[in-house]
Amino acid sequence: MQSGIFHSSYQKDMALRHTPAQKVRLLLIIVFLLIFPFLADNYYLTLANQIGIAVIGAVGLNILTGFTGQISLGTGAFLAVGAYTAALLAIRFNMPMWITIPAGALMTALVGGLFGIPSLRLKGLYLAIATLAAQVIIIWVVTHWDTVTGGVDALFVKNYLWFDGQQVRFNEFKFYWIIMAVAVLVVMAAVNLFRTRPGRAFIAIRDQDIAAEVMGVNVFRYKVAAFATSSFMIGLAGALIAHWRQIVTWERFTIEVSILYLAMIIIGGLGSISGSIYGAIFMTLLPAFLLNVGQSLGSAIPFMDRIIPFIQQAVFGIVIIVFLIFEPEGIAKMWRNIKDYFRLWPFSY
């Protein structure tokens, strides 16, 4: 019988996995990720790939918003920077994907860091508006800098593996491995980030920036670093979108996308890496689920056909509100509560 998990040494406190159950679960997840693509058809692979990309982006945004406390409405635009950089390198210079994708991420880190500079002076809602400016400016540049980005026209991305000019045809199955590999790397990097000095500095800034500065944290440097790190990951997601879909248009990277990513981390759990993953899964699967229910309902009750789309939209909003009311700390907290309930049974509380 347990009444909680207690750490008796620093080593245990720093451990990533505290209980045997966590190790087993991790193993199960790895096995599932390895087997899944062989069992799933293309539809589920599409969903899995969408989730993988959303996870990368959401983890990135959570580092900035959840861990460092800097709200950002520019995710859509940062995705665009990654996507356009990767796409243009591939199209203009026939560069292979293993160069274009990291390059896209680096470029986004640079741009993200730049737009992070105002965060020294701006906080909360004011910073939100400043990042909104990033969203608007970047999308404007992308659509109007014709000579570089091709303007509003869609870019047709080429996928190369080497410099030999041979285009490779990828399908959902092959991209699954690329996207999941990147997602796993990003998650591991993020989890470990918060066991290092910069990671702890981010959290200190979030909790009380003045106190952090008093303790010797260079607030400006770490805020910009948080923007750059976060943007790096978002840029990775953007670059992956470009190569996965092979088409880049700015209409994919609107303000709605920024808000969707914010919703993901809020619903999943701010300041939680696993929360970012849950949120990404939830926000990708919920519309798909609602569409499927709508489809079955529509064929079952024909006269409902015309109003179902509106019900779907409403349900999407209601489900999110309900989730937040019951657990403002997100799905990550719900999951912890469920675990605690069983572990501490019968003496929870």
Partner: protein, 399 residues
Amino acid sequence: MKKRTVLAIGLALLAALLLAACGGGGEAEPIKIGAIFDLTGPTSDVGTPYAEGEKGYVEWINENGGINGRKVELIAQDYAYKVDQAEQLYSQYVNQDKVIAFLGWGTGDTEALRAKIAADEIPFMSASYSINLADINEAPYNFLTGTSYSDQMVIALQWIKDDAASKGVDAKVVVFHHDSPFGESPVPDGQAYADANGIAYTNLAMPRGATDLTPQLTQAQEFGANYIVIQNVSSPAALLAKNAKSLGMDVQIICLNWCADELFVKLAEDASEGVLGVMPFSPDLTVPGAQDAAKFLESKGEKLEDYGLHYVQGWTTVKVMLEGVKRTLDAKKELTGANLRTSLEGIQNFDTGDVTAPLNFSPTDHRGNDAAKLYQVQNGQWVAVSDYIHSRIEAKAHK
């Protein structure tokens, strides 16, 4: 307690998702066509009648014996103009429901799926008529049932050239366009035509969600515009017409297809009077090609006038796609996307009953036609003022 309830709901949702997703398979008999509609998104005002038209045609053809005795099943959903959802639905319909063709809607989804449909060999028709989609190399499975925006622009400029000559003035054209790929799509081709024909030509983007376009119109005045071409949807176009009227500008406004409709007349009220429209789909609902739709709706106790020309547009788009299906079946070929594409490419001089100019597809050109009639708003009705005008521009001239 509460948390357990949430957990239960969550698990139920998950189970239902799996069930719903697995429920797809079965019956190989019907001809399956996938489609996405915008019923709740930003373009739902015109997306809804278009979607109803698509559904209507499928219902109508099934009531009339289907295609060679086979029923048509339209598997469709609202995607609210969201690219991600369009992708999810597309992937689901193609991979699980095994649809052989796909009907899209806007520029966003059509562009985003362009590479996918080529790889999956799924013939695709949407209501986006960008000339980029006629590029056989980059979009081998896209077909345009409507006259491309570039063709529409050149048709408008041809009319302007003649009109200015007859009035003895120099034509000065300002193109007002939506700030998007959709809006900018015909601008370069228009520029090329204007340069070749000595027409002064410039373009201005209409900011999204603007409530007053007077600043942009003032710029047009400074340019000395006597003709304005609008490539935008009805509501902002109506705003522009009203603003121009209240500024007392002496200009001839010409709408390309997405602003030339009944909604424009309704919204612009008396400012719409005298406005011209390049309309690839006839706003005259009494043309022979619209009669099946009219009778079908009448049998349901509804009226075609309530839906308008976008209904006929959706109706005709499915009709063309299914004509390809019929030809594939008639040729006793297996109904695959690749064979359907070949059949569609064999469609020559296809008569849509005066809804559009006759359609021609070929292995080198997926533009249905390059012609449209000009209509003018007279007493609140669109009235034809020309016969079909051909643009005669090459599909790839824009690059």
